[in-house]
Amino acid sequence: MSKDVSADGVDVEAVMAQIRERIAEKKRRGLLTDEEVREIAERPLHPVLDAHEFRSRLLTELLADRERWAYSFSPAHVYGSSRGGAGRLLEKVRRLLNPIQKLFWNPTPMISALSRQADLNQSYVHLIHNLAEELTRVNLDVQDLRNRVLQLQGRLELHARREKALEALLTEAQAGPKGERGRA
């Protein structure tokens, strides 16, 4: 008995031999290829919806490079230096020269704007995070609704076909007795 198919009282070996022969013949004639069978068999059935219209890595990329946007800014930063001991001396000189510098331009609005920007960045990231979440959810909802529309469309088509079948039956039923009368 063939290991592919079994049945009590049916010559399965003969059936399978015929089937193998027909498959081989189709392959010889190029009607059926292993690629085609493989392509159909391996066509995935994704269980989870993918919100593909939204670039979900955007938020991950932003959060990965935290230093770029999550900075703190205070008025002392404009005098600061990263050059160690020499830097501390430089900082003192800058502070001493501050009144003279103020004769040329006023750094206070810039300092205040950058401080506000640092605070805003924190809020923006929070906002983007929430928006990304919402957008993903909305995207999935849209896909879900689209699917439901297609489902309804399918049902509608089925109902339309049923309606036609029903109409045909009614027409036949109405025509039937007349025909019988005519024959009589």
Partner: protein, 366 residues
């Protein structure tokens, strides 16, 4: 006073095989002189006069009462009976392994996972576990049930002689080859494999064909949507998802069927296989779960689900009248065996270990 042997179900539905089995059991028990009612959490309006609400069960519950509990996952009926003093018989219709639902229905996957653990919790509480197939009985044994047996679902074959829906019959009896599957549209039934095999069959054997998928998909829309996508990407024509159908429509679907194809990978019994045989539709089925047992030697069983082989087999069965007749002959033999089954005697025999013995003392039960 008549001895009480009641049944407990999660739901008594209209046209459902388990509900019909419960009603058949009740009829036999009543005929045998037992006081037998059905208690259910949910009752279909058409069945309202046949069942009592679950909340009335404590009125009949006692140490003398024998309760036949149709095991179902996460049900209030299960929680109620687990803590009741009644003598308990579990009738097990199987739980689909959780992995089939992962991704498609995570909640149900969780329920199925916990359902199997719940079944184990019933093992020590139950005097007897009855599976509706040997496959299910083995699962009961694996879950730790000490005393087990098989009580197969026996169909009320007369119910298939009713009128068929003329509209549905008209709709699909149009000269196309109808390949039919009946069952819920859920992942373990591998509807996707049916579509894939049918795609090959339609492309290379019979373009004038239809795949009729008769079954409810409500609650499994995610899987259903993916299937429709698959149909669209494979470019298969005439794949019809009927959704839930009434009994006369179901009969019409069988009456227009040229072949019943089942590629399900997990079945605890699979009533539609028997239904197809009743309608003289040749059955080709994948040998998984209890399918072999249910077919009782009828139909063609596939051990290897190679798409090209399945498609060619469909073509062969549909095109070769002699082969078709030989398959139908095997099915007629299986049906004759089924018809010869005396369900009343079988039920009495299976319940004898419980009904034939007095209630054990509370010490013995503890």
């Amino acid at each position: 006073m008549r001895r009480p042997v009641h049944q407990l179900l999660a739901a008594l539905s209209y046209g459902d095989a388990i509900s019909n089995e419960a009603l058949a059991i009740q009829a036999h028990l009543r005929r045998a002189g037992y006081d037998s009612d059905i208690f259910a959490e949910g009752v279909h309006p058409r069945m309202a006069h046949l069942a009592r609400p679950l909340w009335q069960y404590p009125d009949v519950s006692s140490r003398e009462t024998v309760c036949l509990f149709h095991f179902s996952i996460g049900s209030a009926a299960g929680r109620l009976i687990h803590h009741a003093p009644d003598r308990l018989v579990a009738i097990y219709h199987n739980i689909t392994p959780a992995h089939f639902f992962l991704g498609f229905h995570p909640h149900l996957a969780g329920l199925c996972y916990h359902g199997r653990r719940e079944l184990e919790a019933f093992a020590t509480r139950t005097e007897l576990g009855l599976g509706d197939s040997e496959f299910n009985r083995r699962e009961l044994e694996a879950a730790g049930f000490a005393r087990t047996g098989v009580l197969p679902i026996v169909l009320d074959l007369d119910s298939y002689g009713g009128p068929v829906s003329p509209v549905v019959r008209r709709l699909y009896d149009d000269g196309r080859r109808n390949v039919v599957f009946v069952g819920r549209i859920i992942p373990n039934k591998r509807i996707d494999d049916l579509i894939r095999s049918f795609a090959l069959y339609q492309r290379h054997a019979e373009p004038h064909s239809r795949l009729l998928l008769v079954g409810d998909y409500r609650g499994h829309e995610r899987y259903f949507d993916r299937l429709r996508e698959l149909v669209a990407t494979l470019g298969v024509q005439e794949v019809v998802f009927t959704g839930h159908v009434d009994h006369d429509e179901l009969l019409a679907c069988y009456s227009v069927a040229d072949l019943f194809l089942c590629l399900s990978e997990h079945e605890g019994f699979c009533v539609p296989l028997l239904e197809a045989m009743v309608f003289g539709v040749p059955v080709v089925a994948y040998d998984a779960g209890a399918v072999r047992e249910t077919l009782r030697g009828g139909g063609l069983l596939i051990q290897d689900k190679r798409l090209d082989v399945v498609a060619e087999l469909m073509s062969q069965v549909l095109a070769d009248p002699a082969l078709r007749e030989r398959i139908l002959e095997t099915q007629r033999r299986a049906l004759a065996e089924l018809r010869a089954t005396d369900f009343g005697a079988l039920l009495a025999d299976r319940l004898a270990p419980v009904l034939g013995t007095p209630a054990p003392s509370s010490e013995a039960r503890a």
